[in-house]
């Protein structure tokens, strides 16, 4: 296996490229489990609709961006969910998932988190 180590990735015209630094797809219902991930050590199931994503390799600071998506179930198109990242540290971010209709915290069957920096 080859490993490419670089500090900066750019297009040929000099524009920066910013690949994801970490990502995770997990099921926050039933027996909470990670479907797949990159640069994630673990997730913590804190309470209903509240999780922490723990990174394997810490970022240089806590000022990264989190892109998120999720859904209540895996198969049914239904009322949506909002996913809110908070409590950023260089090695973890807390995630709250709630019903977009009522605002009440609720578990999500699909939670997708991508960290970009």
């Amino acid at each position: 296996m080859s490993i490419l180590k670089v500090d900066t990735i750019q297009t040929t015209s000099g524009d920066g490229l910013y690949p994801a630094r970490a990502w995770v797809n997990f099921d926050g219902t039933g027996t909470v489990s990670i479907r797949n991930d990159g640069n994630v050590t673990s997730i913590t199931d804190n309470s209903t609709g509240n999780y922490t994503v723990n990174l394997t390799t810490a970022m240089q600071d806590a000022n990264y961006a989190v892109a998120s998506a999720g859904h209540a179930t895996t198969t049914t198109a239904s009322a949506g969910r909002v996913i809110e990242p908070y409590n950023f540290t260089s090695s973890s971010v807390r995630i709250a998932t709630a019903s977009s209709a009522s605002g009440s915290v609720a578990d999500n069957a699909i939670v997708n988190i991508t960290i970009l920096r």
Partner: protein
């Protein structure tokens, strides 16, 4: 799905329910292949960041570059068993106030996945019992 979960309670937030740490299969494979940095590397970064938080300068905080690079350059600790990997995970991802301080009752427990309830109806009432 990994075989183990780590259930813990945080003494700083005694009213919160028990938390369940879910390890990553990919990370566990790396741990068993001997690809992890010494835990002291993570502790050093956590201590620096915690100091910044306490001093109110977290927003402007950046890790010292050499210390941060240790995550990649420090000699790897060698292959771990699944159980040793769970212990490493406790030390890395669970606050030290949970496992490094003596309490009057157990504050964390490494359990098998099937021992964690799958019915989350009363999730916010979960507590760790001996």
């Amino acid at each position: 799905m990994t075989d183990y979960r780590i259930i813990f309670e945080d003494p700083m937030f005694p009213d919160e329910p028990a938390k369940v740490l879910v390890p990553s299969d990919n990370w566990l494979a790396d741990a068993m292949a001997g690809k992890l940095a010494p835990i002291s590397v993570h502790w050093s970064l956590q201590d620096d960041e915690q100091k910044a938080i306490e001093e109110g300068r977290h927003e402007a905080f950046k890790h010292d570059h050499d210390k941060w690079m240790q995550q990649f350059t420090a000699p790897r600790i060698g292959p771990l068993t699944k159980e040793e990997a769970m212990e490493y995970l406790v030390m890395k991802d669970i606050p030290r106030r949970v496992w490094a301080v003596e309490h009057n009752r157990p504050m964390f427990k490494i359990v098998r996945t099937e021992d964690v309830p799958s019915d989350r109806q009363f999730r916010n009432a979960w507590r760790l019992t001996a």
